[in-house]
């Protein structure tokens, strides 16, 4: 854990020394997409809602920033706020309808919402730039008199993204351990029982949906600043599906699962795609293997191995018995 944190904090110096500058921005990208996967994970792993619509909120985060800067002339922070607020508002509106449903019906309605807004974004050229998207010039993040910090400085960009993503993960960590997070898990485990103990299942699902919208919105806003553009491509439900695969392979229902899954697949993509265009075959194969052999994802598998190594021999039989139960 400490090693991992130390690594992340020294990336701008160690990575160029070990590989090259390009990988610093790959790592920044991994951080952003991990946050996106975390939003899928909050819904699927903790509340039991399989969402294919998180890309919609990612896209709203991006467009909030893009439109804010390009058309409204906002500076960095108001544009950031607009992106996140737009994502959360969209999550609230679509959530009001979507969380009435569960399982495949819920999955389908999230796809439908995604598609509707994808096609709207593509067709509303005057606002969104259509297929070309919006390219904008970066405003400075902080400026004190003559000194300015902006994403133009790769180190600043990296640390800003790291701080924002770390903060979001910390918030998620707090929520998961709180009474609210426990109530989310109750809804995931058994929604009928949850309602019988006095939990408002609908309101809890909606709350989680808006929180997930927040995470996806922050990820989208960061990605807009990172890429200096906003585009409808990232709103397509295919992007949501990728987030879902990263989450499931990494370990749904664990805080760090999405980071593990995202890191793995983005590294595979970056390394393999230069040599072989069918790199998604590897992704697909790995996803299938993990789902079959490690249903709790790589983090779950790792924990099982640790438990088994730690458990004294006598208890081993018991602990494996416990784990095989559904």
């Amino acid at each position: 854990m400490i090693v991992f944190a130390a690594f992340l904090l020294t990336v701008p110096w160690t990575i160029p020394a070990l590989i090259n500058d390009f990988w610093v921005s790959v790592i920044a990208e991994i951080l952003i997409w991990s946050l996106f996967a975390a939003s899928t994970n909050l819904l699927f792993g903790y509340v039991g809602l399989l969402s294919f619509g998180q890309a919609l909120f990612f896209g709203f985060g991006m467009y909030g920033v893009g439109i804010g800067i390009d058309q409204l002339g906002l500076s960095f922070w108001p544009a950031f706020g607009l992106g996140v607020a737009a994502a959360m508002a969209m999550a609230l509106v679509s959530g009001i309808f979507a969380v009435r449903l569960t399982w495949h019906y819920f999955a389908i309605i999230t796809v439908v919402f995604s598609l509707i807004f994808y096609f709207l974004a593509v067709s509303m050229k005057w606002l969104t730039g259509g297929d070309d998207g919006i390219n904008f010039t970066l405003p400075p993040t902080f400026s004190f008199g003559a000194t300015q910090w902006s994403f133009a400085d790769p180190n600043f960009q990296y640390f800003f993204i790291l701080a924002a993503v770390a903060l979001c993960f910390y918030l998620m960590h707090l929520v998961i351990g709180s009474p609210l997070g426990k109530a989310f898990m109750a809804v995931r485990e058994n929604d009928v029982r949850a309602s019988l103990i006095g939990l408002n299942v609908y309101l809890l699902r909606l709350t989680a949906f808006v929180m997930a919208g927040f995470l996806a919105g922050v990820a989208g806003a960061l990605f807009a600043f990172f890429g200096r553009y906003a585009s409808a491509t990232y709103m397509f439900y295919h992007v949501s599906g990728e987030g879902l695969v990263w989450t499931i392979v990494g370990g749904a229902g664990t805080l760090f699962g999405p980071i593990v899954g995202t890191t793995l697949f983005i590294i595979i993509r970056e390394v393999v795609s230069t040599h072989w265009e069918h790199h998604s075959l590897i992704v697909g194969t790995m996803a299938i293997l993990v789902v079959i052999f490690a249903p709790k994802g790589l983090v779950g598998l790792w924990r099982d191995i640790l438990d088994r190594a730690m458990a004294p021999r006598a208890e081993r039989a018991v602990s494996t018995e416990v784990r095989t139960e559904p």
């Binding site: 929520v175 351990g177 709180s178 485990e189 058994n190 019988l196």
Partner: protein, 259 residues
């Protein structure tokens, strides 16, 4: 004391062509352990589902201590203090016994704190430990609920119903599937609970019902066949005819229901 804790007026629920409860008007007095019995398909569980809000009646009303609760949602009814267990045991399977109780206790709070650690709540911890002891599951506190024996799950479910100081407890076949030893433990527990809280119990095991209940209501085909003390019921001609005179075999019971 003689005020009814639970009252229904002309309660009707149909599933397609099947009338599960048929114009059911009954009044259950508080302070007494009430049992609802009847052959399979008599509408007992539907009756519980209508009270706890899992189903909405086609017509009729439900009153809890003279308050109209018809059409309220399950969590609203639960917050009024009506807690229930399910015929098919229903707990949170993938988390520990302790967490099951913990969540249930915290669920009764109006506001669920989003950022403070749940485990820091000392009042909840004390109450959870108290209930663990009360249901005799302290030793199993850290077991994952899904790995418990059937009888222990049933006991946990009763603990979950108890932990938020209910005003009315609806137990749907609490001892179904229990071993004789577990049954004995559960019956003793229910009898003890009945001194603190109003209980309505649905049960198939006649020995248990007649040993526990102060009042018995017999349902058949969604309507009341008879009400009375255990003695009155066991001497009631139509009940005997429809139900008790035969061996306690499921097939016979079903035949009796169809007759």
């Amino acid at each position: 004391m003689s005020d009814p804790v639970l009252r229904t007026e002309n309660l009707t629920k149909r599933f397609g062509g099947l009338t599960a409860t048929d114009n059911l008007s009954l009044s259950l007095r508080g302070g007494r352990l009430q049992a609802v019995i009847g052959p399979n398909g008599a509408g007992k569980t539907t009756f519980f589902n209508l009270i706890s809000g899992l189903l909405k009646p086609d017509s009729g009303r439900v009153f809890f201590r003279d308050r109209d609760i018809t059409g309220l949602r399950p969590h609203e009814i639960s917050r009024l203090g009506i807690k229930r267990t399910m015929q098919i045991k229903s707990v949170f399977n993938q988390i520990s016994v302790m967490e099951n109780l913990w969540i249930t206790r915290q669920a009764s709070q109006r506001f669920l704190h989003p950022f403070r650690p749940a485990s820091r709540d000392r009042a909840t911890r004390e109450r959870v430990e108290q209930v663990l002891e009360q249901i005799g599951m302290t030793a199993l506190a850290h077991r994952i609920a899904g790995t418990l024996s059937y009888g222990d799950v049933a006991m946990l479910e009763i603990g979950m119903a108890l932990i938020s100081e209910p005003k009315l407890l609806l137990l749907d076949e609490p001892i179904c599937g229990m071993s004789p030893a577990e049954t004995e433990r559960a019956v003793a527990k229910i009898r003890e609970l009945a001194r603190q809280v109003d209980i309505v119990i649905i049960e198939h095991d006649m020995e248990v019902v007649f040993g526990l209940a102060d009042d018995i209501t017999v349902l058949a085909q969604g309507a009341i066949l008879a009400t009375g003390s255990p003695e009155e019921i066991s001497n009631h001609e139509r009940v005997r005819e429809a139900y008790l005179g035969r061996p306690e075999d499921e097939d016979y019971l079903e035949e009796a229901a169809d007759a």
